[in-house]
Symmetry: C2
Subunit: 123 residues, 2 copies
């Protein structure tokens, strides 16, 4: 079997985010779309779901290069994001933009190289 293609999967834990930023579904979708664009990825489709006033948002952008997801908990000032991109698209560029746009107080970043048969954990 040939070596599978390599993709970079970035998991972001964002803490200390202003709750209002984590409730605004339209703005969150716009931030993820911008992140896909600056990373050089192509959006195939989107699904976003607001859980209601004062509650979180969950959503995914499906990309030709894989996906970006976000799940937010305004009551904890917390968002879980993951950016998975294959090919030439730059996952870390997208991840960095999302952290900046949501103005997180603290960002934990965890990187995983996907699709390597051997040593695959880069973060």
């Amino acid at each position: 079997m040939s070596v599978p293609p390599i993709g970079l999967h970035v998991l972001l834990d964002l803490y200390g985010v202003e709750p209002a930023r984590l409730e605004d579904c339209a703005r969150i979708e716009a931030v993820l779309s911008e992140a896909a664009r600056v990373a050089g990825a192509r959006v195939l489709g989107a699904r976003f779901h607001p859980f209601g006033p004062g509650q979180g948002v969950t959503g995914v952008l499906l990309l030709a290069e894989s996906h970006i997801s976000i799940h937010t908990w305004p009551e904890h000032g917390y968002a879980a994001v993951d950016v998975f991109m294959c090919g030439e698209a730059e996952a870390m560029t997208a991840a960095t933009l999302i952290g900046e746009r949501l103005r997180a107080g603290r960002i934990d970043v965890h990187e995983c190289a996907r699709g390597l048969s051997g040593e695959r954990h880069a973060g």
Copy 2:
């Protein structure tokens, strides 16, 4: 700030999968839907995209408890899956079922506990 909720994020690298299984978009969506159901998760929406005959599939199930994604490369017998579930839903149950249904020759599993401020890497 209170401690954020904990979710389990499972990254699966599936190797040695029969190519035909990785091209069948309808069947892959059915497998992911079954996985969500057995894990006790609720599906909010789905986006799946086949890249064409002999090519891979990319897709995401958006869940009330977060998401399940899959991206396949039939030419390499490889699929990248991630299962992220919060609350009572059982991410590892879903991940195990997906590996079984796709009859992977080898499965690499990487677990990350999400939303912990301190020690958060469980895998």
